[in-house]
Symmetry: C2
Subunit: 392 residues, 2 copies
């Protein structure tokens, strides 16, 4: 079976862009992605494309894959839209890896796009709600913030996690995002800012919640046969893991973790023959502050129940033992639903190829991305590894 | 690279089922599919699932893959929803093939589901419309019947195709569907019925248009390594081809054909090392009568422009040289958007495994399925081949 390699990745700015369309944002990400390929790539080399989007607002709910790829000149190649709520483009990247490893394609574009800020608050709640459980969550009035608030409450009760520890997620990620020119909320926040912000869904304050975002991101996955044409410093997709779970939180084994993410991580570590100790950084799905803390545990970065003290220790800051969300994460960089998973891969690519600018870590070799759909009905984890020795 | 095999396929009835949900329909298809595996299969053997759905009506637009698979007990495995309008589950089958050939899964469920008949006429038009081009088609008032009427008009003008020839599609497919216990419109129609029916979009009459349908379908794709556990009469996925095109008809190279389907067919024939002459039957995407005629030409069953005389000759009847839509096709069997592509594979499985009942062809060995998204923004073609000799 051929290995799959990440040879380029790019994104639009994340933010509110009333003057842009979902197509123009995708084009920006596509062009940024293609131009990031170290030795260059003619877009005609692309054999296939996979596009993640939820379709917030309902502007192009059918054929939304071909609708964006035709706009960048890819009219002809197989294009598949995938949707797994907020994990849509994480799954798009996974499908690109499968396409390459299947031998059916050598060069696959995996991307995602979402336009959210032109929708009303009610519409955004509807569109996020339809990614949750219908009868027992959405139709009974539970919002996504409400679902994650239940998870935060459970984690606090079971493990003694505090509001201050939740707030440390915001402080760290905003500090990181302040160094990311693509970030939607690229400003720092203090612990007091996060603690004293208005409550959205108790115990979550405004600073414990990511924003709604317009944006697009894309990555290029290629086969072993052709990787040498595009770079002499290849980044291998060393591990891929994915899992589903019951869509409704109330039907799962625990409220204080995301079992699908745990299974996805196990799959990715197993495939890569790596353990959490091998990681140099991770981009995790911090749609709410509690989600980042649960990710630490689900990914094995710390022991179960220890995520609160772990963030407080500074372990996940850029100078810590395992930097998490150097991009700013969903909290500061932003969360354009369908683009988020591919956007995490952009940060992994930039860190591993030394292009992360002010956020650059010191010679990282192994990075992880962790993308969750809904409150954990789907999860996908990728491990990327720079392996200069392969190409000599 | 491992080969991929089709070892089971099943479906719900197609029709209008106000007492069913999208989940219960999917469960029926899943159970029918699992029980169709010749030597049996424990559902725990399923490594992964891919679900096609457009989500007509908006009841579960996010995580709709896990929402149906959890209902059949598959909570845990990776599940991806794919959408390519009416080709959603054709692409789901293709993704299952990639998953198997990638070595990342041995047993993959590919299915689809749609519930349409509980929506108002306006809602159905909206939901089909969002699979067309937005600015120049949907928002300017063009329906899907209108788009295909333009294609029919072009084919008539360029090739002399007649309304009577279009009507022969309805007569043949209703005759076939009358033998299919799952068909929504399982009754015969006469040439006069089809010719004299009310006009929907000139030149298309009511009998030139498929119905709106509730239904689900599913197929099981497995690797070479495990196929022997499930059958000693394996059906190989010999060829897979897919292609996209501009979403808007007005931007394509022709109105009188579907270029994406032609490219998809070329890909499938090439991969299988087969030509149209090798086919024993085909299930094609006859959402409108003109679509079946264009399919004959796009698939190379007849020369370009000759589809009208070809259907008139009886060549595509069950006793003709290349039987087309023995299931009844979308016209008579029905067209539950997200289920249609997988439903075509059900007919291929039943024909190739000798389980097609009153519709059974005489010892077919090679069958083709042809699934089109929108008016041709996406297309996917599969070739299935029974190869008893492989297993001795």
């Amino acid at each position: 079976m051929t290995d799959a390699y990440l040879v380029g990745a790019g994104q639009s700015d994340y933010g509110s862009f009333p003057e842009e369309s979902y197509r123009s944002l995708f084009r920006t990400a596509f062009e940024d992605c293609v131009s990031s390929v170290p030795d260059g790539m003619d877009p005609d080399r692309i054999d296939e494309a996979v596009v993640g989007t939820l379709g917030v607002g309902g502007r192009q709910l059918g054929l939304s894959g071909p609708a964006v790829t035709e706009h960048v000149g890819l009219h002809g190649v197989p294009v598949t839209r995938v949707e797994n709520a907020c994990a849509a483009s994480g799954y798009a990247v996974r499908q690109a890896v499968q396409a390459v490893k299947s031998g059916m394609a050598d060069v696959v574009l995996a991307g995602g796009v979402e336009v959210m800020t032109d929708a009303s608050g009610d519409a955004v709640r509807y569109w996020l709600g339809v990614s949750g459980e219908t009868e027992w969550e959405r139709l009974s009035g539970t919002t996504f913030a409400g679902v994650y608030a239940q998870m935060a409450s459970a984690h606090m009760r079971e493990h003694g996690t505090t509001a201050e520890q939740l707030s440390h997620v915001a402080v760290k990620n905003h500090a990181n995002g302040a160094d990311n020119p693509h970030a939607q909320l690229g400003f720092e926040c203090s612990l007091d800012d996060a603690m004293s912000a208005p409550t959205v869904a108790d115990p979550l304050t405004l600073y414990h919640c990511c924003p709604t975002t317009d944006g697009a991101a894309a990555a290029l996955i290629v086969s072993e046969d052709v990787v040498g044409e595009f770079t002499d410093d290849p980044i291998r997709v060393a591990g891929v893991g994915a899992a589903s779970d019951r869509v409704g939180l109330f039907q799962r084994d625990t409220y204080a973790g995301v079992p699908a993410a745990r299974r996805a991580a196990d799959g990715a570590y197993g495939m890569a023959d790596h353990s959490p100790d091998d990681l140099d950084f991770a981009e995790v799905h911090d749609c709410f502050a509690i989600a980042e803390l649960m990710a630490y545990e689900d990914l094995g970065l710390c022991e179960r129940g220890e995520a609160g003290p772990f963030i407080e220790s500074g372990a996940t800051r850029p100078d810590g033992e395992i930097p998490v969300n150097t991009s700013g994460g969903l909290k500061s960089k932003g969360h354009p639903i369908g683009a988020t998973g591919a956007g995490q891969v952009v940060e992994a690519f930039e860190q591993l190829s030394g292009q992360a600018g002010d956020r650059q870590l010191d010679d990282p070799r192994v990075g992880l991305t962790h993308n969750v759909g809904g409150s954990g009905g789907a999860a996908v984890v990728h491990l990327f590894e720079r392996e200069k020795e392969v190409m000599g």
